[in-house]
C-alpha cells in the first residue's frame, strides 16, 4: 500500500505517536500504511481481516482487541508495543510452534517464513510448552506444488486467495478444536485432483511453509532470504508489509 492518508484527516495514537487513517480503515491497515509495525500472521493487506492468529492484539483505553478488526476512530489511544502485549504475542507464537511440527533447520521456508521472523522479533527462544507432535499428512500428489500440513497455522489466506482471486475454491477449513485442519477440495481430497496451478495467488500466499513450489528448494541460499537481511519490523517500517 503506497497511498497516504490526508495529513489533515483524522488520526489515532499508536504507542504515543499519531497515525493518520482513512475513514473505515482498521487500526492495523492504517498502521501498516504508515510504516508502523504491529505483529500479525493471518492478516494480509490484499484480503479481508480474519482475526484468528490474535498476534495483532492491542489495547484501546484498557480494552483488548485485534488491530486487524478494530475500526480506527479519531482520538483512539492504542497500545501495542508494550511488555504485556509482547509477552502475550510470544506465548501465542509458542502455541503455534508446539501445535504443529515446525523444524526450521530443515524447512525450505526458513528465512522467508513470517512465523519464524515474528518469533525472532518477539524474542522467542524456545517452545516453552510441550510439543503436540500431531500426525499430519504431506500431500505431494501435485506435479508442481507440495502441501506440507505439518506447518499450517490456519490463517486461511490460501482459502481466501483461491476463492477471492483465483476463483477456484481449492481450500477449506475442516474439523474443530485442536483437530481443525486445512481441507483440499477434490473428490479424492488430494491437491493433484484440483485445478490449482503454480501461477495461482494461493500458491504464493502462504506465510509459512505449507504451500511450496516443487524443484526450487534452496534456490535462494540461507542468509540471502527475505528476513535474513532485515527483520520483519524493519521491513514494515520501510512500508514492506
Amino acid at each position: 500500500m503506497t497511498d497516504t492518508a490526508d495529513t489533515t484527516g483524522p488520526s489515532f495514537s499508536l504507542d504515543g505517536e499519531d497515525v493518520a487513517f482513512n475513514p473505515g480503515e482498521t487500526v492495523l491497515r492504517a498502521a501498516t500504511r504508515a510504516g508502523r509495525y504491529i505483529p500479525h500472521l493471518c492478516w494480509h493487506p490484499d484480503f479481508a481481516a480474519h482475526g484468528s492468529c490474535r498476534l495483532c492484539i492491542v489495547k484501546v483505553n484498557g480494552r483488548a482487541g485485534a488491530a486487524c478488526t478494530l475500526r480506527a476512530a479519531p482520538g483512539l489511544d492504542v497500545q501495542s508495543n508494550t511488555e504485556e502485549l509482547n509477552a502475550h504475542r510470544k506465548t501465542l507464537l509458542q502455541m503455534l510452534f508446539v501445535e504443529g511440527n515446525h523444524f526450521c533447520p530443515s524447512c525450505e521456508k526458513s528465512g522467508n517464513c513470517l512465523l519464524q521472523a515474528t518469533a525472532y522479533e518477539m524474542g522467542m527462544e524456545g517452545p516453552h510448552f510441550e510439543e503436540f507432535y500431531p500426525d499430519r499428512p504431506v500431500d505431494a500428489s501435485h506435479p508442481d506444488i507440495l502441501l506440507d500440513l505439518n506447518r499450517c497455522i490456519l490463517c486461511e489466506l490460501c482459502v481466501k486467495a483461491s476463492h477471492d482471486i483465483d476463483g477456484k475454491n481449492v481450500f477449506e477449513i475442516g474439523g474443530h478444536g485442536i483437530g481443525t485442519h486445512l481441507l483440499v477440495n477434490s473428490d479424492s481430497g488430494r491437491l493433484a485432483d484440483t485445478a490449482m496451478t503454480l501461477t495461482d495467488r494461493a500458491a504464493s500466499i502462504c506465510p509459512v511453509g505449507v504451500i511450496l513450489p516443487k524443484r526450487r528448494g534452496f534456490l535462494i541460499p540461507i542468509g540471502e532470504r527475505r528476513f535474513d537481511t532485515a527483520s520483519v519490523s524493519e521491513q514494515a517500517n520501510r512500508g514492506q508489509s
Partner: protein, 603 residues
Amino acid sequence: MNPNFQGTSVAETDLLQLLARHGAEPQALVQILRELQELHGWLPRDVLKRVADALGLTLAQVEGAAGFYRFLHMAPVGTYRVLFSDNVTDRMLGSVALMDDLCRRLGVAPGRLGEDGLVSVDRTSCTGLCDQGPALLVNHHHVVTRLDATRVAQLAGLIRAHVPVSQWPAEWFEVRDNIRRADVLMGEPSAPGAALAAALARGADEMLAEIKRSNLRGRGGAGFATGLKWELCRRSPGVGRVVVCNADEGEPGTFKDRVLLSRRADAVFEGMTLAAHIVGARRGLLYLRGEYRYLLEPLLAVLQRRRDTRLLGPSILGREGFDFDIAIHVGAGAYVCGEESSLIESLEGKRGTPRIRPPFPAEHGYRGLPTIVNNVETFCAVGHIALQGGAWWAGIGTPQSSGTKVHSVSGDCERPGVYEYPFGTRIGRILEDCGARDTQAVQVGGPSGVCLSAFEFGRRIAFEDVPTAGAFMVFDRSRDMFEVARGFAHFFAHESCGFCTPCRVGTALVVKRMDKLAAGHGSRHDIDVLFELDKLMHTATHCGLGATACNPLRDTILKFRPAYERHLKSLYFEPGFDLDAELSVARRMTGRHDAGAYLENPP
C-alpha cells in the same frame, strides 16, 4: 432402526425428497446433513458430494461443515450410537463406572466402533439432564435418564439383541420437569394469545416502551438490555427482519430452557411473536440444541396449534399485515453455537465459528438481515410484561436486575430441579431450599461462570453481584474441586471451535497440565503456567468461550489451592515428561530391572 444403515449410499429418492423439502437451499445444509444421518446413520463421502452438487457448494465446504459438528459423522458409528452425558454432575452420580460397565458388556472400547458395526459408546458434553442423571443419548435423538447398573445391564442386552430403540422400556425415556419453586415464569401460564392481544392493543411503540421500562436484561448470560437490542434492530435499515430464539442450552449444568420448552412452549413462541410485532419481523427461527432433539415433535405440534388458532402465520389475530411464522433449526452438537453470531452462522448452514463483531446481529444478522437473538427465558418474560406492564416487572428483583431468574439446580442436594426466584436472592437461600448439606462450593452459571466457596454464600444472584445464565451446581465437602475443574477444562477443549490460536491451543494446553497434575507429575511451575494461560485467554481470544474457558481453573486455584497442591509431586520443578516411563520400553527389551537402570523411582 434404519434398514440401510450399513450401506455406502443413501437411497436416491430419500435424498431428493429431503432436498426438495429444504428447497435445495445452502442455508439448510446442517439440517439436511442431520436428517440424512437420521436416515442413514452416517454421512458417506459420495453422499456429501451429491449434497454439495445439489446445493451449489463445494465438497470441501460440505465436508468442512460436517466436520465441525460433534453429532455428524463421516465414518460409521454403528446402528446404536450411545453417548454418556459427561457433565461433572453425571460423573458424581457414577456415569464413569456405568459407561465402563456398558463397554465391557458390549465388548467395545470407548469411542471405537465394535468390529460387528453394531454399537459405539462415547462421552458427550452435558445433555441437560443433570437433575435426573446419569443420562445418555442414543442415536442423537432419544435420552435415557436415571441410569443405574440394572438399566445398563438391560440396555446392553437390548442392544446385543438388536432391539430397536422404539421398543425399549418407555419409562427409560421419561424426562421429569422437577419444578421445585415457581414464580412468574414457572407459575400459572396465561391463555395462548392473551399477551399478544395485550401487545397489539398497546401498539408496537408503546410495547417497546414497556419492555424498556421493565429493565429486562437478556437471560443468556451477557445481560444486554432487551429493549435496547430490539430498538437497534427496529431502527436498522434493511428489508426483512428476523427473530431468533436461542434454545442452544449448552452450558453444562443448565436445563431450565428444557423445562420452559416442555412446559411453557406457548409463552416462548408468544414472546417471539411479540418481538416480531415490535421489530417488524416476518420470520422467526428457534435454534434447538441437538441434545434436545426429542423435544422437536412436541414443539412442532405447538407451532401448528398456534397456526390453527391464528397466533402464527398470515394476519395474526386478524391484524392485516402482521404476518409471522417460526421454523425450528436443530443443532448438531456444538457448545459454541450458543454464542449468538456462531448460532447465526450455524443457522446459515455453515461452521459455527463466531463472527467478527461489529457489525452486531441487530444490524447484520441472519443472511445479513437485522436480527434479534434472545434466550428462551427472555422471550418467556416479555409476554408477562405485555400483560402486566414494565413497571410491574421492574418492581421485582433489584434495581439493576429486574424480574425473576430460573435456576437449574443439580449436584449434591436432596431436591435437584428447577427453581425460580426474584433477582437478589442469596446463594445460601437456594442451598437451603434445595436441601444441600455440608456444601463446599457452588458453580453458578456453569463452567464459564463463577465458583463460589462457603464464605461467599451470602452473595446474591444479580447481574451486579453473581450473574448467571442459569446453572447452579452444588459440591459438598467430599468432592475434589481440582477434579471438578479438570472436568471443565476437558469440556472447553472438547468444545473449542478451533478458530483462534489462544482458545484452540490454550484449552488443549490447559488439559495437558491438568492431566499431568492428576497423574501426580505436576509441580508449582505447572500452576504458574495455568495462571499464565488464563491471563492470555482472558485477553486475547476471539470470543467469549475462550475468554471464560479458564474461569473455573482460576477460581478453584484461588479458592481451593490445597486441592491442587495435593496433586503436586513436588512443590518445585518437575520435568514435563516422565523419563522413567519413556525408558520403560527399552528396559523391557534389554531386561534391565536393576536399580541402576532407573533415575530415582525403582518399582
